[in-house]
């Protein structure tokens, strides 16, 4: 298992945002993390990525304990995340955004630019390479977010709602991108509300509700689980 989350809890004062959640992601998988708003998905991401320290539990990445490490160390270990509310470097160009990421792995300016150019091409951002990030519409900003993370050469990427709010074309492009990345060996854990995309992309789905894991399995199994239907998908989803 590449990522092993074991009985992780996160409490804020009296509020338990994540409670005893365990799951694992094998190398090469695409796993979805779903659940209603406020279920604790992003908190769980923040705990895995090192932004928040877990109140209890353990997180191992590639066999190494990473809970409590600071975010930059977790990224250097090969686990990189994107933000739900995108955080582009606004006054830098798209290419420069990616170059900053590339510098995490290389020291030379030329090598960083070469890496970044390749990633900008691969993520379909070449047309906007010299545009300032702040000038881009949200769909492209989300792609910049992914490109910048990829530039750090992760073994596994955490995608936080990179498909929400995209138009149908953008959505298709993003799904293609994720599929291509996965087939080139990248492991993916994604939070998503766009069910069609989740069902299509993920080999496995983990469902959380009120901070607890309520289901974990194949898309087919999860969508038939009555607890998941009740908590998140709704009766309509089952009917279709």
């Amino acid at each position: 298992m590449l990522l092993e989350v074991e009985r992780v809890s996160k409490r804020f004062g009296g509020l338990t945002a994540v409670s005893e959640v365990s799951f694992a992601v094998a190398e090469g998988q695409v796993v979805g993390l779903i659940g209603p708003n406020g279920a604790g998905k992003t908190t769980l991401f923040n705990v895995i990525a090192g932004v928040l320290r877990p109140s209890s539990g353990s997180i191992r990445f590639a066999g190494r304990e990473i809970s409590g490490l600071r975010p930059y160390r977790i990224c250097r270990a090969g686990l990189c995340r994107t933000f739900q509310i995108v955080k582009p470097f606004r006054n830098l160009t798209v290419l420069e955004n990616v170059v900053v990421g590339a510098f995490t792995r290389v020291r030379e300016r030329r090598a960083a630019y070469a890496d970044a150019l390749k990633i900008v091409e691969a993520t379909g951002l070449a047309r906007w390479a010299d545009s300032l990030a702040q000038a881009l519409p949200i769909g492209l900003r989300k792609r910049v977010e992914v490109a910048r993370a990829l530039a750090t050469r992760p073994r596994m990427i955490l995608l936080d709602e990179v498909m929400n709010g995209l138009n149908p074309t953008e959505l298709r492009e993003m799904m293609d991108l994720i599929r291509r990345l996965n087939s080139s060996g990248l492991t993916v854990l994604l939070i998503e509300h766009v069910m069609a995309a989740v069902m299509d992309l993920c080999q496995r789905i983990v469902v959380v509700h009120h901070g607890e894991k309520i289901a974990d399995g194949s898309p087919e199994a999860v969508t038939r689980d009555p607890r998941v239907v009740e908590a998140y998908l709704g009766e309509d989803y089952l009917m279709r």
Partner: protein, 326 residues
Amino acid sequence: MFAATDIREHVVAGSLFAAAILIPLTSDNLFLQDATILILLWAGLASSWNIAGGFAGQISLGHAAFFGLGAYTSTLLKLHFGLSPWLGMLCGGALVMLTSGFIAFAATRLRGPYFSLVTLAFAAVVQIIAARWYGLTRGNEGLSIPFEPGLGNFMFTGKLPWTLIVVGYVLLVYAVSVWIARSRFGFQLAGMREDEDAAQAIGIDTRLLKVGAIALSAFLTALGGSFYAQYVGFLDPGYALSFDLSIKFALMCIIGGLGTPLGPILGAVMITTLEMYLRAKWGGGRSGLYLVVYGALLILIVRVMPIGLVRGIPQLLVRWRKPRAA
């Protein structure tokens, strides 16, 4: 924005340095010679501030403390131990590097205005200590450095050596800035400045980066402080550690262009020239009037070119050329 660090900027900077060296060689006007040296000193100091405030986005309002600590270190070592101010300058730089590094480390979780407040408070404390510790600094009476010309004493009769040294100083800071703008360090600083959380998420150790940028900026500021003490020959906490000084460093960078190697130099030339001119013209009779005009002009400049001269002037040129072409 990094593409802006191109050959044109080097040409502008180079011409300014060359012109500065020519002034003591060709003119007997002492006021002009003195003004040149001070403008260059301001340019070097503003460029030093720019490393923290511009490149790293850590807006310090306490750089006067680093300036003053540098100045006091070389001066006190000279007065008490007869140490050459050249060595004193390096000691001051080292001391300031440690002090500023410690402050940056301690304030590492504070962002934006909260960081600025810490630096402001630090400078205020240093100023009070310097003013009260009479035995060491002679308080507000200030310290005078005896005039003993000589290369080892960092003291000269003519203006040419001073000009050459200060040009060397500005060149050093400019070179460091150009290196930063193109290097891994500079790109990571830009990432941190734009979004600290995102920078951490892509593997950047922002704490180390912050400490490094601030220590480097403060070190270069301290060198300028020692030069100032030697050149003026007098040092008091009311000026060398004042809040006004800290503000001025920031102001020059904002006017010239934050986070660009040339910006602070242009800002320093512009602001210092403006200030000196207005003071010479109106400073006498109607006291205070020149400050009103000075303030109004600064507001006007920031209003017209909020992005600073270095990026604003090319934009203006493009706008002027367009109608002609059409």
